[in-house]
């Protein structure tokens, strides 16, 4: 298919996101306060020490999906540092509950995988 690669320079030390984890990461990012799409992507990249690569092309569908589910809400606001409006997303109460659920699920999963990998090596 003709889906172009998200980044022209996918270096070997950058990892593509696991299926389904992007939603959790977005929710997690918004815990620190409202952010627009670009900020969310930058934040994930930065906090993962540039290891996790967020496809910008997947980011916006995910944001809109979460908004539709009611876990985040959006509004147009003027950025503090620029004289320009961005669409800011913030976490809703439902979103917070969802984040807790996903985090615990993730930890169980991570622990399970670690155990499997630990015994194997």
């Amino acid at each position: 298919m003709a889906k172009p690669p998200a980044s022209s320079s996918s270096s070997p030390d950058r990892l593509e996101l696991l299926q389904g984890t992007l939603d959790m990461l977005i929710l997690r990012t918004l815990v620190f306060g409202p952010a627009h799409g670009h900020q969310v992507a930058a934040h994930i990249q930065r906090t993962s020490a540039e290891v996790l690569q967020v496809e910008h092309g997947s980011l916006y569908p995910a944001l809109h999906r979460l908004e539709r589910k009611g876990w985040i809400a959006a509004s147009w606001e003027t950025a503090k540092d620029r004289n320009r409006q961005f669409k800011y997303y913030r976490l809703t109460a439902a979103g917070r509950r969802q984040l807790v659920a996903e985090e615990s699920k993730w930890q169980q999963l991570a622990a399970a995988i670690a155990r499997v990998m630990g015994t194997a090596s």
Partner: protein, 923 residues
């Protein structure tokens, strides 16, 4: 939800959708701007920064698409987009769009028109209340008067009807009505108004109550009107009331003269009610059978319990099943026949075997149904073929365009358009085209239905069939258009989905194998095959019609005028009739331009036949010996009858002035009669008589033999017929025979042989009025026209099939031309190279022709067995033509091949003017 609310909701939804789109657009732009700014700050040039930002985001089209998916409701959204895009595509190529819409309009219009007729004629119930409760006795539609035993019990006498009505409680109402509609002279009593012919049908008193219809004015008939001696009442049809009397309320209650019998119009039937049978020229008047008693006096059919002249239709009570009710009726009928018909042992066995059935009569007792049912089936098949050919054409046009748009499609794929989306897009375009074609086809259907009715019912005054498509017909047209759209856009859609993004960009239109792709060739094959089937079918039907119309009928139709008259025979004693008939023929012969004139009980193709048992001197028993054999036909004619209708005398003498009531009684027979009943003997000088009583076997001496003439059915050989002079009567014991003889002396038909193509109608009316002031001409038509009308159904089918065949030829030629021209255009560069390398121009032309004509040749080869099969299916409709008639196949093949060559040669010759240098530079 009201329509207004729905529209408001839809509008609101559209507005929200628009806001969201703008919102998304703005969000993505902000993202890209920010990304670019950051990269610029990091040292990239503004242009590089912009490009990099786009690269990181990916195709904005695709991102938007995926975001939209997360919104839900996307199919509506997509449909709207697809429709908008499809409309844009269609607007961009108006020539293609117009050609496709016209093609589809013809195909869909033809089908909708035929379906409209099928729906109206075959499927629609009578316009009465709860028609599904109606059942009719028997399905033997033998007209018009019979005696007791019928293989399928259908006709009843007044007495049998009354018995059934009173003793079959399973019916809530059981009505009876005359099996035919007759013309009567009709005028206002007292007034000096000229009589006008009116169609009348005698019905039982509960006829309207059984149908459950309400009067438009006055009242309908009641049981009291049908008692013997009741003052004659009549119900007028709404149409007659509206057209002749301008809905004058004073008509109700007024007295009229029906052939001299005073009748009172008591009411008007509801609009749209045409009686028990869908027929051309339905009754203007419904009269109780009691009026028949008064009108015909001694000759009345109602008077005689053995005269079976009525059909029976009843309304079954809810919950009743027809089979047990039929069994109950069978018991009553058999008992009655055993008791009253004094049957012989053999007849008793026949009565016991006689079928008595009830048939659903929701649609009436079908007449048009019987005449046109099979023909409409043929037309539906033929117009279906035309639509298929049209579909192939449009598919080919779409394919050609899709191939031309390969680069565009490839770019769209490269930009991230999904395959499913591409398929949907092409389908949307196809269905949109088909729906536009269907809408235009509606106009075609409106015109076509009217044309078909005019062709089918040539000579009819009024046809109670609404030519406008009914709701089912509209639904049929719409569904057909949808299906058509899917059918013809399926191949292009499938091909579009297989475009590889890089391929057309690479090939740049220079590949040689890209002549006409396989699907396009296949469609040409299909078109050629179907067109051959249509053309052969058209040829067969045309040939058959020609042979039907131009056969030797056994009479001459040129320069002859046939009159249907009512001589108001209040006084019908033989003496008066003789004087009247003599005066009449003498007076008619004196009209300038009239070469000869004659009178008869009936003449050829009048729609009348009288068949009865006879007995022949020297042959024991009655004729026919078995009941399932056709009884010979009998006609009563005046002197000069044979020369007037142009039937040749073969031996002996014709009936002439010597044959008076007092003279020796004679008969003239036709060839078939002679062959059938006198196989080894000379019939001249032998004797025969009417009825099965052997004492009458010597009544009439056979004095002449005339050639066979077809009187009723042009497709079968003439029936054995004997002609006896008017008024040469016998003395019979049986009342049925007496009654029949009286009725057979009443002339309803006058024949005139003219010296040339003259119009003598006015003079004839004048002469008739001179002889009998009360006489009226109910109808006058040339013999040519009368015979031509007998082939209305065949003509309709032949002409329409010819028209469709011609259209198919045009469509196939246009299709081939389009594909070839397109191929040549695509291959310009390749041909340029060939020419540059030294190919002879003629070789190039031949190459193109070969490529174009190969699929046609294959199609024709496939078409031949298909056309044979079609011809075989048509065989029962063909007259004098074999379904494999070689010259018809040859002509059809040559026509198609010629048209195909003409369509291919023009674009092929265009290759000779290709300039290699310019062709190569063009790309």
């Amino acid at each position: 939800m009201s329509v207004r609310e729905a529209v408001a909701r839809w509008r609101g939804w559209l507005a929200r959708r628009r806001d969201r789109e703008q919102d998304l657009e703005r969000e993505l732009r902000a993202h890209l701007d920010l990304e670019a700014e950051e990269r610029e700050a990091a040292g990239a040039s503004p242009e590089e920064a912009r490009q990099a930002a786009l690269r990181v985001l990916g195709s904005p089209v695709l991102v938007k698409e995926r975001v939209r998916e997360s919104w839900g409701w996307t199919w509506l959204d997509r449909l709207q987009q697809d429709l908008r895009l499809a409309l844009r595509q269609l607007r961009r190529s108006p020539g293609f769009t117009a050609a496709a819409i016209v093609t589809l309009a013809l195909g869909l219009g033809a089908n909708t028109a035929i379906f409209t007729l099928i729906n109206r004629v075959l499927l629609s119930p009578l316009p009465v209340s709860r028609p599904s409760e109606l059942y009719s006795l028997g399905d033997n539609r033998n007209c018009c008067v019979a005696t007791g035993i019928q293989d399928n019990f259908t006709l009843v006498s007044s007495t049998v009807y009354e018995q059934l009505r009173d003793h079959t409680p399973e019916f809530s109402q059981l009505a009876a009505f005359e099996s035919q509609v007759n013309l009567y002279s009709f005028r206002r009593s007292g007034a000096a108004a000229a009589p006008e012919p009116a169609r009348g049908e005698f019905v039982s008193g509960n006829y309207f109550a059984m149908f459950g219809v309400r009067p438009a004015a006055g009242r309908l008939l009641a049981a009291a009107d049908d008692r013997a001696g009741a003052p004659p009442a009549a119900v007028m049809s709404y149409r007659c009331w509206a057209e002749r009397y301008a809905r004058d309320p004073a008509v109700v209650g007024r007295s009229f003269a029906l052939e001299g019998l005073p009748v009172t119009v008591v009411g008007v039937a509801p609009p749209g009610f045409f009686g028990d049978t869908l027929r051309t020229d339905p009754p203007d008047l419904w009269l109780p059978t009691a009026a028949e008693l008064q009108l015909h006096g001694e000759a009345s059919l109602r008077r005689h319990p053995e005269e079976f002249w009525l059909y029976v239709v009843g309304r079954l009570r809810p919950g009743m099943r027809p089979a047990p009710v039929a069994a109950h009726i069978a018991t009553q009928v058999r008992q009655w026949l055993f008791a009253h018909a004094a049957p012989t042992a053999r007849e008793r066995a026949e009565i016991a075997r006689m079928g008595v059935e009830l048939h659903p009569a929701a649609g009436g007792v079908g007449l048009l149904r019987d005449t046109y049912g099979a023909g409409l089936g043929v037309l539906m098949a033929v117009s279906g073929l035309l639509l298929l050919i049209g579909c192939a054409n449009v598919a080919n046009l779409l394919l050609a365009r899709a191939t031309a748009a390969r680069q565009q499609t490839a770019v769209r794929v490269a930009l991230g358009a999904g395959r499913g989306r591409l398929i949907r897009q092409t389908l949307t375009e196809g269905v949109l085209l088909a729906l536009l074609g269907g809408a235009a086809g509606l106009a075609v259907a409106l015109a076509a239905t009217r044309l078909m009715l005019a062709l089918a019912f040539r000579g009819a005054g009024y046809v109670p069939i609404d030519p406008n498509p009914s709701l089912p017909a509209l639904a049929f047209g719409f569904a057909l258009a949808l299906l058509t759209g899917v059918v013809f856009s399926a191949t292009p859609a499938w091909l579009a989905s297989r475009v590889h993004p890089a391929e057309p960009l690479r090939g740049a239109g220079r590949s040689t194998r890209e002549g006409a792709a396989l699907p396009q060739r296949s469609l040409l094959v299909v078109q050629a095959a179907l067109s051959l089937v249509l053309l052969v079918g058209a040829g067969l039907l045309r040939e058959s019609l020609g042979r039907l119309e131009n056969q030797r009928f056994g009479f001459e139709t040129r320069n002859r005028l046939m009159l249907d008259v009512d001589l108001t025979l209040g006084d019908s004693t033989p003496e008066r009739l003789r004087a009247l008939y003599q005066a009449l023929t003498r007076r008619l012969t004196r009209i300038p331009g009239v070469a000869s004139a004659s009178l008869a009980l009936y003449s050829p193709f009048e729609g009348v036949n009288w068949s009865d048992a006879i007995c022949i001197e020297g042959i024991p028993g009655r004729i026919p010996a078995r009941d399932n054999e056709r009884a010979p036909s009998i006609d009563r004619v005046s002197p000069h009858y044979f020369e007037t209708v142009g039937t040749r005398l073969l031996r002996g003498r014709a009936i002439d002035e010597r044959d008076t009531p007092a003279s020796h009684h004679v008969a003239v027979i036709n060839e078939t009669f002679a062959r059938k009943y006198f196989p080894n003997r000379d019939p001249l000088g032998r004797h025969m008589g009417l009825g099965s009583d052997p004492r009458h076997a010597t009544d009439y001496e056979i004095v002449g033999i005339v050639e066979d003439a077809k009187y009723t059915n042009a497709r079968v050989p003439a029936w054995a017929t004997e002609f006896i002079p008017l008024l040469q009567d016998q003395v019979y014991d049986e009342p049925v025979m007496i009654n029949m003889q009286t009725r057979s002396n009443v002339v309803r038909s006058i024949q005139l042989r003219l010296a040339g193509p003259l119009d003598v109608q006015a003079a004839v009316r004048h002469a008739l009025a001179e002889i009998d002031p009360d006489a009226s001409v109910l109808g006058a038509v040339s013999f040519d026209e009368r015979v031509r009308r007998a082939f209305n159904a065949d003509r309709l089918i032949a002409r329409l099939t010819e028209l469709y065949g011609l259209l198919a030829l045009v469509l196939a030629s246009v299709g081939l031309y389009g594909v070839t021209a397109y191929t040549v255009a695509r291959r310009t560069a390749e041909i340029g190279i060939r020419v540059a390398l030294g190919a002879a121009p003629w070789n190039v032309v031949l190459m193109v022709l070969r490529g174009a004509l190969a699929p046609i040749a294959l199609g024709l080869a496939i078409g031949i067995p298909a056309a044979l099969a079609a011809g075989w299916a048509l065989a029962s409709r063909l007259f004098g033509v074999e379904p494999y008639e070689p010259h018809i196949f040859l002509v059809a093949l040559l026509a198609l091949a010629g048209a195909a060559f003409a369509a291919a040669v023009v674009p092929a010759l265009r290759t000779t003017v290709i300039d290699p240098i310019r062709a190569l530079r063009a790309e």
